[in-house]
Symmetry: C2
Subunit: 382 residues, 2 copies
Amino acid sequence: MEKIAYFNNAATTFPKPEEVYSFVDKYYREFGFNSGRGQIDSPSKLTKDTRNLLLELFHCPAKKVVFTPSATEAINIILQGLPITDNFNIYISPFEHNAVTRVLNFLQGLYKLNIFTLAVNNKSLTYDLEKIKYQFSENKPNIVVVSHASNVCGAIAPIKEVCTMSYQYGAINIIDMCQTAGLIDTDLSSDIYDFVVFSGHKSLYATFGIAGFICSGDIIPRPLIYGGNGFDSANPNMPETIPERFEAGSQNIMAIAGLYAALKWIKKTGINNIYAKEKENLTKLISVLKEFNNIRIIIPSCETDTVGVVSSVFDGFSSDNIGQILSNQGVEVRTGLHCAPIAHKFLGTFPSGTVRFSVGYFNTDDDFIKLKHALNYIYENS
Amino acid sequence: MEKIAYFNNAATTFPKPEEVYSFVDKYYREFGFNSGRGQIDSPSKLTKDTRNLLLELFHCPAKKVVFTPSATEAINIILQGLPITDNFNIYISPFEHNAVTRVLNFLQGLYKLNIFTLAVNNKSLTYDLEKIKYQFSENKPNIVVVSHASNVCGAIAPIKEVCTMSYQYGAINIIDMCQTAGLIDTDLSSDIYDFVVFSGHKSLYATFGIAGFICSGDIIPRPLIYGGNGFDSANPNMPETIPERFEAGSQNIMAIAGLYAALKWIKKTGINNIYAKEKENLTKLISVLKEFNNIRIIIPSCETDTVGVVSSVFDGFSSDNIGQILSNQGVEVRTGLHCAPIAHKFLGTFPSGTVRFSVGYFNTDDDFIKLKHALNYIYENS
């Protein structure tokens, strides 16, 4: 198959570092056993080492790592498991994904919740910290959910500033780092971060099947999934201990091997070098897109930092139509609402959605040349 | 590393067919994209083809396949999602795993449930169909949960007979095929099977990270996990359609590739040939164990068929102690309660548990020789 110019790294990074593919294959062939369900300790050790590498990456050795099969499940465990009551004030960013909004919609059927949107300027895409301070003072936050970077427009949220303010009201702060873990060097050691969700297969460059959250263990949600842990089996309840309370069923050792190799690769390459490379590729991407007058790109003003995600609207074309034409030209993007309808409402691109281009560490100059050719093709033939 | 004699196939089969390792590696390198989150249709096609291979394996082309990351999660989705009310009569086999009993324990905190154990003779390990018929007539079943084969003693349940009886009362029947899917040729086309759970990494010889359930779609549980599906994104609720209702978050394409390759391997090898080979290995295993007078093995009487799982008690040793000694001799088993405390209470081996030996398709004569040497070593040194 001809090599694809892959601009869908926000959905899943592709390709992975060679080390990830080869270690997954090698490890699973040699040690594809069930962690904690036998005598061989290699899978248990690998799991522990991987948790430690994550804590090292996030500069928070005293915190705990809970593994889940997906970030969606991690968010469900947290939001469905918190002791929510009627009249809770829940703040979310205007960029939240259906993994947050659909859970909140379900919870609204159970409780009378007040859901507020954090103040963000919809032109500059900058968080308005003064307004947010005022919002919190008017309606004290009980829970705050913020995507560290939007999967639609790439804008990075000032999580430290927002969480510092909400923490003063005793709010539970939940940060979604699906687009930034392993990419933006972030110190999670502070108590202001109650739950931080990560996804292995996105910015961490690991495979599908491994995600989770980092927490201090001070707030313990009820479990969402009940089942065996491979120990304490006589207990009819899930254990109280973290991570075991949230890790029912067999661990996905194959995916943990991928995350282990990816974390080693990030450490070796340097997280800041990875981000610098992604920014370099983002600059190339924007430069190509700007050559076409009929493409409107949605990017934050220069004071807001971003990850390598750009949404765009092609005058005279539906986003799905553009996606299909680009695909026929060997260029892979994602079109539509990107599972984040509220972000599009905020950006004014609902319900038609956008054509999203997202770069990663491994994009090459060839990819940009191919993209330019494909865009030329669209405008020459329209 | 010296090759391990692996007798822990009930925890996860090992090794996998060569086709599984190589296809996972090749496919993920080439097409490791996000199914339904881009233009390239290969991952979506692979997912669809894998569902169809499962329906073919179970002779039920008209049913539906829902993928979940683990069988534990599949059971949670079903049991937590059913419209349970106070005074429901729930029957379970005496062999159920914590993936069932811990969920029921949680549900007992929400509802007044009557939980009954299906009548099984605790010597012959045979289901007593006459007694079960009487049990159902005395307390009409609302839900029946049966493990097709016990993960502790290998006994196969007469699911057709039990479900036919309970179906007459309108019960919802849930079958756990974690130890039998891909091993025991089973026709699931009948309406008597409402939900049938499978695990990829066990008897299906696929990898970790893929499991699920097969259902007709007539009974639709509420979702347990809320999030994006990659389509219908503007809907604040999970879709009503199956499987999408239960498949929030990215599909694990790497694991689906493994299941696809495993299903192809099962089809090529022949499910009955795989079972015959496992039975042959079971006979070899029992023959080795029987040479040692001090090992008490727990096997059903000859009228009950089994899978390749044997629990045993070593006179004068704790099960954990034996597990450790065997491990030092290069023999991998599982010891303790195997996440199924009620099975051990039923078998009289609670709370100390058993030493469980479980064979698979790939055990070799060398494994049995190594096992015999290790057992000799234990008795020569005790």
